[in-house]
Symmetry: C2
Subunit: 367 residues, 2 copies
């Protein structure tokens, strides 16, 4: 395996000092920023995430801030999800599409006020698309990347840890809602959300200067709860069916292919630039779709490229993420499969670097 | 040092098999794609680059293809460089700015025809900005990322190696011009350009399937020339004053701060979306500018963040790239310095992780 060559271009985060002190062993790059991938081992991190509580440096979920009189109009232009009922204090998972209906990002939109939004982005420079549209349509908005760095607290004991630092008010925060809570005199948006299915919160840390004080406060308060530095875990996120933009989908895919049709209200999302392109697929459905796939046999090698999914000699899809799951004692995978072969129970072959492995399409993900 | 965690999201290139076979030891990520950073050692790669010839996988210089009746108009919207005199067959280095004059990218524009251009990009999703503008202004263009992966041949012996594979026609290609030359029945754009000052070419490999055949042909033909797999070299590029977007400049900087004023024709670049914002700085000049900086004393540590540049207690700039240069027996660095302290010969202090080191502003870069 190769080392990562550090440079300013791979931006550090307000929590990097804490991440290094905790002994980070692997990184990926996400939105031009360092994202830890492993601390002890991927399997040890996984077991701990499911049993205790972890603090995650997910500062790489950069924000695109949109403010001004046309803010709500611009956010609706980005997504086929109808945002009219959304209230300040809510978070919405919003597929973002271009004029052809291709996915450009799959962020969480955070509505701070009618005229002020954060888009908490996956790995692509969504800022450029939003700025381009704002300029071209002469919208009355300001668009930029503020000094806001999400820190996630994930795992079954996360509510207790958060309550120890932010008070019992965190217990009342509902899923995909946020409240402004105080830390060292600063009001921070605290949402019940995060990139695992083990429960938890994301703190939108506004102002890099309080990054390490907050990191340290969580580590200190969590000592008795076996808190540990962690990161999005490959095994847990595949078991949970949490998609990764760039891995499981790209701009070649519509939201419907990604299984995100339930987040699209294509008929009513008036103003979405990709609406017209999506109307047909919204009505008829996609011919290719994300599916959970179980790969039988030995542990799969690291999945760093698409693995063809075959039905005999016919290429009917691709696996995009795969890993051995200790809890389910099998290889768990995410892939796209053609309609002809996506029924649960369908047996297929996957061409991996270690050879052809048999696989079965599942009805639902594991977690 | 940490490992890089591989995944489909960090895209492989048509040359990755060759890169791995050559024993790549380090990677960075650039445009969501793997970019090698070291093969033998950074210093050994450096000496070899200056003495022989290397083949570089720079597929990460992705292309934004713009074609259609409004193509030339759209490209001019992107940059304050006046493109009216540019002919098909030419390459222009073009600062790309947003509506505030902030740098979004510093690519090479390749004019294939009046109505067909490639923008060979640095590390940001320029595609999103271009698509946003095209949509907002309702331009008659198609914008996408084609299957084109640059492969660079760099070093003093690069012309001989290129001639061995593409024929003597390569010898007639002038700097920043390209010709369509044949390889295995395919016409490829071959330009005299590249991210070193050791001379060389970039081949725009259209069609990933001929990536490895071309890699292998170059390696085979170069055996007697001591050809080796290489990559953009940190030492050589700093000595040569080759800027790196994201390292030495960001969207906070104007082209003039980056020392790129000579590539701006702000008065005549009618249509550039950042023109109005740049008129004043174009006339009066910036107050902060890129400078070559020599850092005295021991070898600097790896530069993975901005290092403050001080004049006494005054913060007058930042170093953004720095490394020990064996040939010049000193630390070579790139930084931005305020007007009050940017004169060549000015002595300053640099705050590095290893302590305060004395430094001197230079008149010109080393190569």
């Amino acid at each position: 395996m190769a080392m990562i060559a550090l440079s300013r271009r791979l931006r550090r985060t307000p929590f990097s000092d804490g991440v290094e002190a905790a002994g980070v062993k692997g990184y990926t790059v996400y939105n031009h920023m360092l994202l830890p991938t492993v601390f002890r081992s991927v399997e040890e991190d996984y077991r701990h995430l499911k049993a205790a509580v972890q603090v995650w440096d997910v500062a790489c979920e950069r924000q695109v801030e949109i403010r001004g009189p046309d803010a709500a109009r611009l956010v609706q232009m980005l997504t086929p999800r109808d945002l009219r009922a959304m209230q300040p204090g809510q978070c919405y998972y919003v597929p973002i599409v271009d004029e052809t209906g291709g996915m450009l990002n799959d962020p969480v939109a955070v509505k701070l006020a009618e005229d002020r939004w954060w888009i908490s982005i996956a790995d692509s420079d969504l800022l450029y698309w939003v700025k381009g549209l704002a300029n071209g349509y002469r919208l009355d908005v300001l668009v930029d990347e503020p000094d806001v760095s999400p820190l996630a607290v994930q795992g079954p004991r996360s509510e207790d840890l958060m309550a120890a630092v932010f008070g019992d008010a965190v217990r009342d925060i509902r899923f995909f809602r946020f409240r402004m809570l105080e830390f060292q005199g600063r009001k921070l948006a605290v949402a019940r959300s995060g990139y695992s299915k083990q429960g938890g919160f994301e703190i939108y840390v506004e102002g890099g200067d309080i990054g390490m004080p907050l990191w340290n406060a969580l580590m200190e308060a969590g000592r008795s709860m076996d808190v540990h530095a962690g990161c999005p875990n490959l095994i847990e996120r595949i078991e949970s069916g949490l998609l990764s933009y760039g891995n499981d989908m790209t701009d070649e895919n519509t939201p419907h292919e990604c299984g995100l049709g339930r987040f699209c209200n294509t008929e009513s999302a008036i103003g979405c630039v990709g609406r017209d392109a999506l109307l047909r697929v919204a009505k008829e459905g996609p011919v290719l779709q994300i599916r959970p796939i179980e790969i039988h046999g030995d542990r799969v090698p690291p999945c760093d490229r698409l693995w063809p999914v075959m039905a005999g000699n016919a290429h009917v899809g691709n696996v995009s993420s795969a890993v051995w799951s200790p809890d389910f004692d099998t290889n768990v995978a995410i892939g796209m499969v053609r309609m002809t072969h996506w029924e649960a129970g369908t047996d297929l072959d996957v061409i991996t670097p270690d050879g052809i492995m048999s696989a079965t399409v599942r009805e639902v993900f594991w977690n």
